[in-house]
């Protein structure tokens, strides 16, 4: 630290300009997590309102039998968009927004791990969502249900652009969600205050960690499915066409492999909110911290074994269904563990009936019912009756509204004093709660009966003699009550931002770090970072906020233009490194534009536009990656509060290392789904064996293996050499690594281009071509990265102490070798195994 003490105000004046988002056009260059998080949250609430309006249109149509309000074509767009908007454009972005806004504040960090990536994720989200909404306003919204079952969503039965809008728009948003998940995972694991071990980490962070890992594994199957369906629609391939060896059920497997984890991804952060609020509002600590962590992790894994329970009526044999039925009942156990932990906490403590607590009680009332109806539909014979009826509509709204929306509203009211810096003046919130609670139950409670009386989903009207009339009218009335309730919440929130009085510093007497500082939070969160010794740092040290503001923690200084936070050991929380963060830049926005061009080009069948988009995006990503690291070794330096730490480019466990591995995790999930699809089509789909199999070509196989494995071996050699200080040979070896992958990639590309039958002839050829394309794509990525490393070495960004570029590239070279080899072996081996 420099000589002479700096005052809190002085430190603020040094740090604020460094971390603050510029004004004017500069707002488009924001990377600060507080701004990005707020953007995600506000945008997601806008989409929630749009989804709510669509719900009102549905209820208006169903209020009476044979209503003339909307015809089937329009109605099909209403319900498709309602589901799509709520699930993809509201729920996931809201939880990612909460994570991005809150995690650095709760964990004692200055920003997220990859600020530019977060900004890029936001622009992709906004763009993808806009494609869907603009299409809807033009009357071209997708109209085959939010899960888009094939063959209805295939070209022959949905010839319009509507289905493509869904596939492109949703995939664009998924790219955003996956990018956000990578950033959140690394931030939670690495960017915490020194001393904050995993055991001392707030439960919300644990839940978000599990949720984002689920995103990394669970979203890629849908990305794959969407890519397959879009290619089938645009180029006539055969993945889902039973007349050409395809199978429409494959779409369902890929969709629900995503779709079931999706709802637990949505629930877990809400459970994290409850685990945060309940102890605080009951003036005690959570009962069973370890159990809650273990239960959340268990839910994360178990929920991947449920997906076929959405397919119980498709004709899968009973034993297959039974596996999933059993898993679907078992999953209630870790859920119950959490519920009982919360109940125990409330019984142990002294609950206060403040506004967030109303929503928590609402959660209990609604979610428990939803969970019970969920256990009912896990029973296969019962499911055979109520599947695809309004019973399911009732169930899903009970779990999603009870399990996500109500906790989110509780969290909204809890953290609003933090975000706005002001306190509530009017009692509007209580009125809104009752309207929401009563309105919701009036809409959906008797809907269980509506379904039991035989009303299916997705019907635009119904005859009067079915016995559904009165029930539907009550549901529609309830829907309008809810709409008023949510409108009141909006008014209430806006009023709170506009009205005068400042909030108390810690209005709930909470113990977690986000309350240790001025409200609204400054751009840098903490003037200096705390050394954490327990789970509730503010309870242990009520003066913590003042001491941190005065610079008594770590990094209580400004060093030029460097934006610093502490990186820690993932488990123990021991300080390891000073992480250097980028500041505001237009790069994320500029990179999102050609990304959008790529997607729009496919949507509008302007493929040159897509190609141009890819090229420009690639250049921008390389520029982005270039703006990292440093040109000389610095060694460990004083980081304040007694810490001496190296900067992150000189550390093995740098954030970028983990970001790369987590991205690879998502990629591996996609590849695994592709292999599953290949095996599934081969064994289950009708119309096999195909009329023509690929002729196994040992030259192509051998040369391809040589290329990808050789490339990886060269990369490994280069990395080891650089680490060991043998820097002379590195450049040449890097070029060899690139050459190997290019060669391997060409061999893979030759499969669909020359060796295999045409992909539109049979699903075998389609999936073979896709497998080869996957391999070739990764060879190209690995080659480009190796060449990038060559340039980095040339310009001095790499040294024996600074090997991050090489090690990250090695991950991708290894993956290209593994996936490329496996693809080649499967492509050439399968016809050989299948025999003549």
């Amino acid at each position: 630290m420099s000589g002479g003490r700096v005052t809190a105000l002085g430190l603020h004046k040094q740090l604020d300009p460094l971390f603050r988002t510029p004004s004017g056009w500069g707002r488009l260059a924001a990377t600060n997590h507080t701004d990005i998080g707020k953007r995600f949250l506000v945008t997601s609430f806008v989409f929630f309102l749009i989804g709510g309006v669509l719900a009102m249109l549905i209820r208006a149509q169903l209020a009476t039998p044979h209503s003339g309000f909307a015809g089937p074509a329009a109605y099909n767009q209403f319900f498709t968009m309602h589901g799509t908007v709520m699930m993809f454009l509201f729920a996931i972005p809201a939880l990612e927004g909460l994570a991005i806004y809150m995690m650095p504040k709760m964990l004692g960090a200055r920003d997220m791990a990859f600020p530019r990536l977060g900004a890029y994720a936001y622009w992709c989200y906004l763009s993808g969502g806009s494609i869907l909404i603009v299409a809807m306003l033009l009357g071209l919204a997708p109209d085959t249900g939010w899960f888009m079952y094939t063959p209805l969503s295939s070209q022959p039965y949905s010839p319009g652009i509507n289905a493509d809008v869904w596939l492109i728009g949703v995939t664009f948003v998924e790219v955003s969600s996956i990018a956000g998940a990578v950033e959140i995972a690394v931030s939670i694991l690495k960017l915490r205050a020194p001393g904050m071990s995993l055991s001392r980490m707030p439960l919300l962070a644990w839940y978000l960690l599990v949720a984002v890992f689920m995103i990394l594994i669970g979203f890629p199957p849908l990305v794959l499915g969407s890519v397959m369906l879009e290619i089938e629609r645009a180029f006539g391939w055969a993945f889902f066409d039973p007349a050409r060896g395809g199978d429409s059920i494959l779409w369902q497997h890929l969709f629900w492999l995503f779709g079931h984890p999706e709802v637990y991804i949505i629930f877990l952060p809400a459970a994290g909110i409850l685990s945060t609020l309940i102890p605080v509002l009951c003036r005690t600590t959570i009962v069973g911290y370890g159990w809650v962590v273990a239960a959340a992790i268990s839910l994360g894994f178990l929920s991947f074994g449920l997906w076929v329970h959405h397919m119980f009526t498709t004709g899968i044999p009973h034993m297959g269904l039974a596996f999933f039925s059993a898993a679907s009942t078992l999953v209630a156990v870790p859920t119950a563990i959490q519920i009982f932990a919360w109940l125990a906490t409330m019984v142990q403590g002294r609950p206060q009936l403040r506004l967030p607590m109303l929503y928590i009680l609402g959660f209990f009332a609604i979610f428990v019912l939803g969970g019970l109806s969920g256990v009912m539909v896990a029973v296969v014979p019962f499911n055979w009756q109520v599947h695809d009826t309004h019973f399911i509509v009732a169930h899903l709204h009970y779990v999603l509204v009870g399990g996500f929306v109500f906790p989110l509203l509780a969290g909204l009211y809890y953290w609003l004093p933090l975000v706005s810096g002001r306190r509530r003046l009017f009692r509007l919130g209580e009125v809104a709660f009752w309207l929401n609670f009563i309105g919701f139950n009036l809409t959906f409670f008797q809907m269980h009966l509506t379904g039991l009386l035989g009303m299916p989903r997705r019907v635009y009207t119904y005859p009067a003699e079915m016995g559904w009339t009165g029930l539907n009218l009550v549901s529609s009335i309830g829907g309008f009550l809810s709409a008023i309730g949510f409108a009141l919440v909006l008014v209430d929130v806006v009023l709170q931002f506009l009205s005068g009085e400042k909030a108390r510093r810690n209005p709930w007497n909470a113990g977690t770090l986000e309350w240790a500082g001025p409200k609204p939070p400054p751009s840098y969160n903490f003037a200096s970072l705390p050394l954490v010794t327990g789970r509730d740092p503010l309870q242990a040290d009520p003066d913590l906020a003042v001491r941190l503001a005065r610079g008594e923690g770590a990094l209580g200084r400004r060093r030029g233009e460097r934006r610093e936070t502490i990186g820690v050991d993932m488990v123990s929380g021991a300080a390891e490194q000073v992480v250097l963060l980028p500041g505001p830049t237009f790069l994320p926005l500029f990179a999102a534009l050609p990304t959008g061009a790529f997607f729009l080009g496919i949507l509008l069948k302007q493929y040159l536009l897509s190609l141009a988009g890819v090229a420009v995006a690639l250049v921008l990503f390389l520029v982005w990656a270039w703006n990292n690291g440093q040109r000389q070794d610095e060694g460990a330096q004083d980081a304040g509060a007694g810490l001496v730490l190296p900067p992150h480019p000189e550390v093995r466990e740098a954030p970028g290392h983990w970001g790369s591995l987590f991205t690879l995790t998502a990629d591996a999930s996609l590849f695994g789904s592709l292999l599953f699809g290949y095996a599934y089509l081969w064994t289950i789909a009708p119309g096999w064996p195909p009329p023509a199999l690929l002729e196994p070509n040992s030259a192509n196989l051998a040369l391809g293996l040589l290329g990808v494995i050789g490339g990886w071996a060269a990369m490994r050699r280069a990395t080891l050499a650089m680490s060991a200080g043998r820097t002379a040979s590195v450049s040449g070896t890097l070029l060899a690594a690139a050459a190997g992958q290019i060669f391997g990639g060409v061999m893979l590309a030759l499969v669909p281009l020359w060796l295999a039958p045409p992909p539109s002839g049979h699903a075998y050829a389609s999936v073979t071509a896709l497998l080869a394309a996957y391999g070739a794509f990764h060879c190209a990525v690995a080659a480009i990265m190796a060449l990038f490393c060559w340039a980095r070495v040339k310009r001095g960004f790499v040294s024996p102490a600074r090997t991050l570029d090489l090690r990250v590239t090695l991950h991708w070279q290894a993956w290209a070798a593994f996936a490329g080899s496996l693809a080649l072996l499967v492509i050439h081996g399968a016809p050989w195994v299948a025999g003549p």
Partner: protein, 284 residues
């Protein structure tokens, strides 16, 4: 069965053993759910009891007892019951099973009946089965995924193109049981309905023979598309049909019906329009 008139697609008014087993399961689960809801409500109320200072709870009793052992016990019983009932409802090989075929289309159903000596009768929108006998419905689709569902008789089973799924149904007594498509299949999904007509077993063969041999005098325009019953619904049995609720023809009569006929069939003479309308109204 009389109550079935009030809610013809109700799962809670079973007309056969399969639907009955499921309905019983439902009532038992409802009772269990109500009990668990009451338990949670009591526990929540416990949190608001008056006390003077914070207490400690026995974490193990709450979490292990309430969160682990209690659900495992209840769910174990439920899962076992679920799998046992599920096994019972499957179409296990059995003698004396009557087999029919159902082929789903956008937006109608084509039914092929067994050959009981008079050849295979093909109808649309009405499936004829013998009451009191196990019937296996072999279900497939001609286009997109649909689902065959007769709630009073059994659960539903999807009609998937390229596959054949088999559903076992059994009507306890003769009568008409409403059915419908239960998987969203496009703009006509709401109207994609059908009826299962269960006949006294001794009359079944005669019914099929009559369907097979019936030659109703349809105008040529109608027969052009509908005669073979493959690309469009066939005409066998239409003149005796009661259109199920939800079907486009269910509520049409008089001038509205004639208008529909003119719109649907293209150029017809006045007499042909009358002839078609009379045939379509015949079953009322």
């Amino acid at each position: 069965m009389l109550g079935g008139c009030a809610a013809p697609l109700s799962t809670l008014e079973p007309g056969g053993p399969s639907a009955r087993a499921i309905a019983v399961l439902w009532w038992v689960m409802l009772a269990g759910a109500a009990a668990i809801t009451a338990l949670v409500a009591v526990l929540l109320a416990l949190a608001w009891r008056r006390r003077h200072a914070a207490s400690t709870v026995n974490a193990a009793r709450w979490i292990v007892g309430g969160g682990l052992l209690f659900p495992l016990g209840v769910l174990g019983v439920l899962t076992a019951a679920a799998l046992i009932v599920g096994e019972r409802l499957l179409p296990h090989p059995a003698p004396e099973v009557v087999t029919v075929e159902a082929r789903a289309h956008q937006f109608w159903w084509r039914f092929t009946h067994p050959d009981l000596g008079a050849g295979r009768a093909v109808t649309a929108t009405e499936l004829h089965i013998p009451a009191g006998r196990d019937v296996d419905v072999r279900i497939t689709s001609a286009d997109v995924i649909h689902s065959f569902w007769v709630p009073q008789l059994a659960g539903k089973l999807d009609a998937v193109p390229g596959f054949e799924n088999v559903l076992r149904i059994r009507a306890a007594a003769p009568g008409r049981y409403q059915g419908r498509c239960a998987e969203f299949c496009g703009v006509g999904h709401a109207a994609n309905v059908f009826t299962v007509v269960a006949h006294p077993p001794e009359e079944y063969a005669a019914t099929l023979a009559r369907l097979r041999s019936e030659a109703a005098p349809w105008p040529a325009n109608c027969a052009a598309c509908h005669a073979d019953g493959t690309g469009a619904p066939g005409l066998a049995g239409v003149s005796a049909r009661a259109w199920p609720p939800g079907h486009p023809l269910h509520a049409l009569s008089g001038e509205a019906l004639r208008a529909w006929v003119r719109l649907h069939a293209g150029p017809l003479t006045e007499a042909e329009t009358e002839q078609a309308a009379a045939l379509l109204e015949g079953g009322r």
